[in-house]
């Protein structure tokens, strides 16, 4: 089956298989991506991140429904952590989105973080492109937490929505640096709980501190996801931000940065792979390691020599 061709003709199975090809690094993935690339760049990509259990999936479900009401098609990529012990994972985000399964304007795909997080961000970016090429108007990427890996993943997004919840104590302090770097919009979810006002004040204070560095002050919304409260307003804010990105050319700027980063990452990966393969195919590498260990040579000189040879 010509996956790219069938995907562009509207096949959901082909869309699904294309993501698998990228995720499993099948040989045909590069060919598929080459064919799809000209058809990308049209979707509005939204990253949703926040602490475990904050209500990200419930919120995603409701945001998708609101976009559907507005006549948009939506793709969702839901990422859950892979167990470091077994390499397996329970991907449970979909359980909150069951009502969307039979809507033909929606496509949901769960992904495990698997081994390398760096690798994941590029696979996520490719999965986004695949859904983009398939014609989805809006693509939502859900990830847990706000660590460095997630920061990389949300770089694939035009807008990052950070979900916070009342009652996490000092967590705001601990994650504020990371949060500020990526948040375009905040939502205080579980606003039905005590502490929403306090959290709101804390966030505003934090933003005040960074005021000078912010070209866009992230608005702070409130939602009660499982009761569908505040969702229409939140989607309106997501759209306003998209408008702002377009008007100010920030969208182009962000996407230019993204292309740069992607090309560099692909280069590094391919060169890295080439080097490892070449080195391991002859015994020279082992010999080098021996020499270095015995202090007969130093790694700095050997690596410089090698580079010269490999890249000529």
């Amino acid at each position: 089956m010509d996956i790219a061709k069938e995907l562009l003709a509207g096949s959901r199975l082909a869309l699904s298989r294309a993501i698998t090809a990228v995720e499993n690094e099948y040989d045909e993935a590069v060919d598929i991506m080459k064919k799809l690339y000209p058809h990308t760049g049209n979707a509005y990509v939204i990253g949703i991140t926040g602490p475990p259990g904050a209500g990200k999936s419930t919120l995603t479900d409701k945001i998708v429904k609101e976009y559907r009401r507005l006549g948009k098609t939506v793709g969702v990529i839901a990422i859950d952590p892979t167990s470091p012990f077994s390499g397996g994972a329970i991907l449970g985000d979909r359980i909150r989105m069951n009502e969307l399964t039979l809507d033909e304007g929606v496509f949901i795909r769960s992904m495990g973080t698997r081994g390398s997080l760096g690798g994941l961000s590029h696979k996520t970016a490719d999965a986004v492109k695949i859904m983009d090429a398939a014609g989805k108007d809006v693509i939502i990427v859900e990830t847990v937490g706000v660590g460095q890996s997630e920061v990389d993943i949300v770089k694939a997004a035009d807008t990052t929505l950070v979900v916070v919840v009342p009652g996490l104590g000092d967590d705001i302090q601990a994650i504020k640096a990371g949060i500020l770097e990526i948040a375009d919009i905040f939502t205080i979810n579980k606003a039905d709980r005590d502490g929403a006002d306090k959290l709101n004040v804390e966030l505003e204070m934090m933003l005040d501190l960074y005021q000078d560095k912010l070209e866009w002050r992230p608005p702070i919304k409130r939602t009660v996801a499982h009761r569908n409260e505040g969702i229409a307003e939140l989607v309106q804010t997501l759209e306003e931000y998209y408008g702002y990105l377009k008007e100010t050319d920030k969208l182009t700027e962000r996407r230019t940065e993204r292309v740069k980063a992607e090309v560099l990452a692909m280069l590094e990966e391919n060169i890295g792979r080439y080097v490892t393969r070449t080195m391991q195919s002859d015994g020279e590498f082992e010999q080098m390691v021996q020499q270095i260990q015995k202090r007969e040579a130093d790694p700095y000189t050997l690596v410089a020599d090698l580079l010269k040879r490999l890249l000529k």
Binding site: R12, L13, S16, R17, I19, T20, E23, N24, E25, Y26, T82, S83, F85, S86, G87, G88, A89, I90, L91, G92, R94, I95, N98, T101, L102, F107, I108, R109, S110, G112, R114, G115, G119
Partner: protein, 129 residues
Amino acid sequence: MEKRIRVLVAKPGLDGHDRGAKVVARALRDAGFEVIYTGLRQTPEQIAEAALQEDVNVVAMSILSGAHPQLFPVVVNLIREKGMKDVLIIGGGVIPDGDIPALKEAGIAEVFTPGTPTGDIVKFINENV
């Protein structure tokens, strides 16, 4: 290559017994599989469509209510109709021995009844995907 076996663990119908499905889901995760768990009360259409979107290698259904003769074959047909010819479809739960041949005839590759060690399920999947 970073291939992982992906399994959809699904509970079709109105049956609310989910303990077995959860035990199986956890065992499969611990065996290194990626498990997509969609929770209770799924229609056959939802299960087949989720299997397609997630591009799973295995669909594993659990029924303890006795509705397996009606539901299992419907899911098999829907999945095959969607063009997923090579998905391994298995079932488990409270299923009388006498019903098993008909289920296999309908395309359920294997049926696991109460008391099955989860290791047997892992082994079956590894040998048949």
